[in-house]
């Protein structure tokens, strides 16, 4: 009876379905130009809002399918550049529980997720920072290790590699430490790590977590002085966050609500974003498993 994401340990049981809708509001007024943290009055405060519907389906008790289709909107308080909005990248993920073992006074789970994301609309990636996405295919392979005490406290780590392809832009010359006579830009691959500490309360009705996330591109160039970012940039993020999810048990059974807060504490070629999010989830059985 739990809602989930591709990077947590929750799985639907066979024939269970969960639908979710989250709203994320992110803001920054400083960004890292390479490793130099700066503001830019011609951007002012930059906002990125994401409305994301998601569906998770239990194919078996150990295998889940997750589909998400975020809608993104960007704008800024300064300058004259127009913000944009639209459907970003649809993602399809398969999450599989590889191992589940009782150890000590708790349970250890190892899960693996394979995900694929691709742009859903003809948005322009080469319109940064206002572009709604990187405009490329992305393959992710993630391993999740979760240890939970019977009492309800848990710790979780996850590691993933993101393979990103090329994005097609609307000009056939660009500079990336040299000339490129092509409409294709190489978007760097990345490593992504998470560490989470959390606990269940009130007999598994409430879950609260503190987390730390790192994302590091394996290649790429830095934003040039007072210049726009480019999809070829080497992006790095270090972020901390808090998350809470409440599951209704009696009345409104199957419904859940969630909220989170995160803050980017260090980065490279990205905005120093503060994000808050809220969401609702609804879980139900499609068919009884005999």
């Amino acid at each position: 009876m739990m809602a989930q994401t591709p990077s947590d340990e929750i799985l639907m049981k066979k024939y269970e379905l969960c639908v979710a809708l989250t709203y994320d509001h992110g803001e920054w007024n400083q960004y890292w130009e390479g490793t130099y943290l700066r503001g830019n009055e011609n951007i002012g405060t930059f906002t990125r809002a994401i409305m994301m519907p998601m569906v998770a389906a239990g194919i078996t008790d150990k295998l889940n399918l997750l589909i998400a289709a975020p809608y993104v909107q960007t704008k800024s308080t300064g300058g004259q550049i127009a913000g944009v909005e639209g459907f970003q990248d649809v993602s399809i993920a398969l999450k599989y529980e590889i191992i589940k073992k009782e150890i000590g006074k708790g349970n250890l789970k190892l899960l693996g997720t394979a995900a694929f994301a691709t742009p859903m609309s003809n948005y322009l990636s080469d319109y940064m920072p206002y572009s709604i996405g990187l405009g490329t295919n992305e393959w992710t392979l993630r391993g999740i290790l979760h240890y939970q005490l019977d009492k309800g406290m848990y710790a979780r780590v996850a590691g993933a590699h993101l393979w990103r392809g090329q994005t097609e832009v609307e000009r056939d010359y660009y500079y990336n430490n040299g000339s490129y006579y092509t409409t294709y830009m190489d978007v760097p691959n990345a490593w992504n790590y998470n560490a989470t500490l959390g606990t269940w309360l009130f007999r598994y009705a409430l879950r609260i977590e503190a987390s730390y996330m790192v994302l590091k591109s394996t290649s790429g160039d830095d934003i040039r002085p007072y210049n726009s970012p480019q999809p070829t940039n080497k992006m790095e993020v270090e972020q901390v966050g808090f998350f809470a999810q409440y599951y209704f048990k009696e009345k409104l059974k199957g419904l859940g609500v969630l909220a989170y807060y995160s803050q980017v504490i260090d980065g490279r070629n990205i905005g120093k974003s503060t994000n808050i999010g809220v969401g609702a989830t609804y879980q139900f059985k499609v068919k009884d498993s005999q």
């Binding site: 008790d61 300064g78 693996g112 000009r171 000339s179 294709y184």
Partner: protein
């Protein structure tokens, strides 16, 4: 991960996974792998024109009689007669060439293949790349002031130069004119002395390029290497070492390709050195050093326009830039147009007038309902910061036509010379209009207007893209008549792109196209009379 899945499947088989489920999962995995392969296909990302040395469509044996741009005559630069091919001096050079070409390593072969027998192409690419590299606008200091690049202290920060469109078109003009004059001089001496190529003297000498009857003294490659290195170093002083290394490789490749003996190269280097002095002398006195004015001068130009017309342009950035981009570029010495006044367009409609409102409404309408096609056109022609600028874009087209029509280096240099003289004249004419009329941009006249392209730091009327493109199209249509329709269509599209982008009104673009055509015609008329008989 696949291994982990297979292992766990084996462990679980006799627990709760039936054979059908196992088969489904393996099918799913296989589909995943196939999908991964399909979506991983990567496109080539070329970093330069992908062409090899080609047989020239003609040798232009009379090239030495063409009228140079700066030289008083092809013989203004004097070089000694070469040693005869039977002389011991020459034979020693020939032997040296033979051994040099005998054991080329991979790097040397690559260099020959890169430079090709038309190095005009490669030096133009290098020029465009440096333009892109230096085309960055300085940001504000912590106190809100702006520090501009300073040639006396090129490292800055900010680095010198800021290779904006006026700077870039001027850089390309001097480069191309110097190359052209140098090659006219070289062609004169080639046919005056008629010393045959090394592989003609000794057929055992391998030639990396198609053999032809072009005499090899002096070396045209050497002229181009020295002229290009020195003009580009003057324009991009921080690139001195880089350019020296490129020229060194180019000069060496002339030997490695079997094209020239050492004395061919020395004579070519000498011509190159003398031509660059003449070109840089013109550059030093052409008025560019006064183009970026003081605030006092800039304010007085704005006040004059306001008194004259009742409107003026303001920079809308935060913090506001105190001076626009090169307000006095319009006073730089043109190549082929006698005065800016004779090509200055008429007065634009006053803001608020019906004619203005019509075109302002059009800009707003496009912004509100931009189609994917229009957005792409805006981005395609943008050529803004961090790119080679609109002049660079048209040099790219010229490069592609030169390769397509298999022009020899002299004719290639002629193409770039007239193209870039026309484009620089167009820039000067355009900037004259911009600061004479001092017309405000859409983001200034339309409150709250947001655009998909950034508005540059100079007034609106007329559009630089339109002026540059129409002038370039005029020259390229003359030199490549089969491409005339394509060039004119490109120029029209480049002009429209600025309206789609929200940074120009239609009257900016239409006047600019007209202006560019007029300016370009002066260069075309000069070309028609230069003896190349085209």
């Amino acid at each position: 991960m696949v291994w982990a899945l297979r292992t766990s499947l084996k462990l679980k088989t006799h627990n709760n996974l039936n054979p059908l489920m196992k088969k489904n999962i393996i099918t799913l995995l296989t589909l995943l792998c196939v999908a991964l392969l399909i979506t991983s296909c990567e496109n080539d990302m070329p970093t330069r024109a992908n062409f090899s040395s080609y047989e020239f469509s003609g040798l232009d044996e009379n090239g030495g009689t063409w009228k140079p741009v700066l030289l008083s005559a092809p013989t203004q630069i004097a070089i000694d007669a070469p040693a005869d091919v039977t002389s011991s001096a020459y034979l020693a050079e020939l032997a040296s060439l033979k051994s040099a070409t005998a054991n080329l390593n991979g790097t040397q072969v690559e260099a020959v293949e890169y430079w090709t027998n038309n190095p005009i192409i490669r030096w133009n690419e290098i020029a465009l790349e440096l333009a892109a590299k230096y085309n960055l606008i300085p940001g504000p200091n912590a106190d809100g002031t702006y520090t501009l690049p300073n040639p006396a202290n090129p490292a800055g920060p900010p680095s010198f130069p800021f290779a904006h469109p006026p700077y870039t078109c001027r850089m390309l003009a001097y480069l191309s004119v110097a190359q052209f004059d140098g090659l006219i001089s070289a062609w004169h001496y080639k046919y005056a002395f008629n010393r045959p190529a090394p592989y003609t003297v000794d057929s055992t000498i391998p030639s990396a390029f198609t053999k032809n009857a072009l005499p090899s003294y002096p070396s045209e490659g050497a002229v181009v290497a020295v002229v290009s290195r020195d003009i580009l170093t003057a324009m991009f002083p921080l690139e001195k070492d880089y350019l020296a290394a490129r020229a060194e490789e180019h000069l060496n490749s002339l030997i490695w390709s079997g094209s020239n003996v050492a004395s061919d190269v020395e004579a070519g280097k000498y011509i190159g050195t003398e031509v660059k002095k003449i070109a840089l002398a013109r550059a030093a006195g052409d008025g560019m050093k006064n183009a970026q004015t003081t605030k006092a001068k800039s304010d007085s130009m704005k006040a004059a326009a306001f008194a004259r017309f009742g409107w003026s342009w303001d920079n809308m950035e935060s913090p506001q830039r105190p001076v626009g981009l090169t307000p006095l570029f319009g006073k730089v010495k043109m190549w082929n147009v006698p005065t800016v006044e004779e090509v200055r367009p008429g007065i634009p409609p006053a803001p608020g007038s019906p004619a203005f409102e019509k075109d302002a409404q059009e800009v707003k309408d496009f912004a509100k309902n931009l189609t994917n096609e229009q957005r792409k056109i805006a981005n395609w022609w943008s050529d803004g910061l961090n790119t080679y600028t609109p002049p660079g874009h048209w040099n790219r087209f010229a490069k592609e036509f030169i390769i397509k029509y298999e022009m020899n280096p002299l004719r290639s240099a002629r193409t770039f010379a007239y193209l870039n003289m026309a484009v620089m004249d167009a820039g000067i004419s355009c900037w004259d209009a911009k600061y004479y009329y001092h017309y405000p941009r859409p983001i200034q006249t339309i409150p709250g207007f947001k655009t998909i392209l950034g508005t540059p730091n100079f007034p609106s009327y007329t559009s630089g893209h339109s002026t540059y493109s129409a002038a370039a199209a005029e020259v390229l249509s003359y030199i490549f008549p089969n491409e005339a329709n394509q060039c004119r269509q490109w120029a029209e599209e480049a002009a429209m792109s600025r309206i789609y982008g929200g940074i120009h009104y239609r009257f900016d673009a239409e006047a600019g196209i007209e202006q560019g055509k007029n300016v370009g015609t002066y260069s075309v008329n000069k070309a028609k009379a230069d003896g190349a008989n085209q």
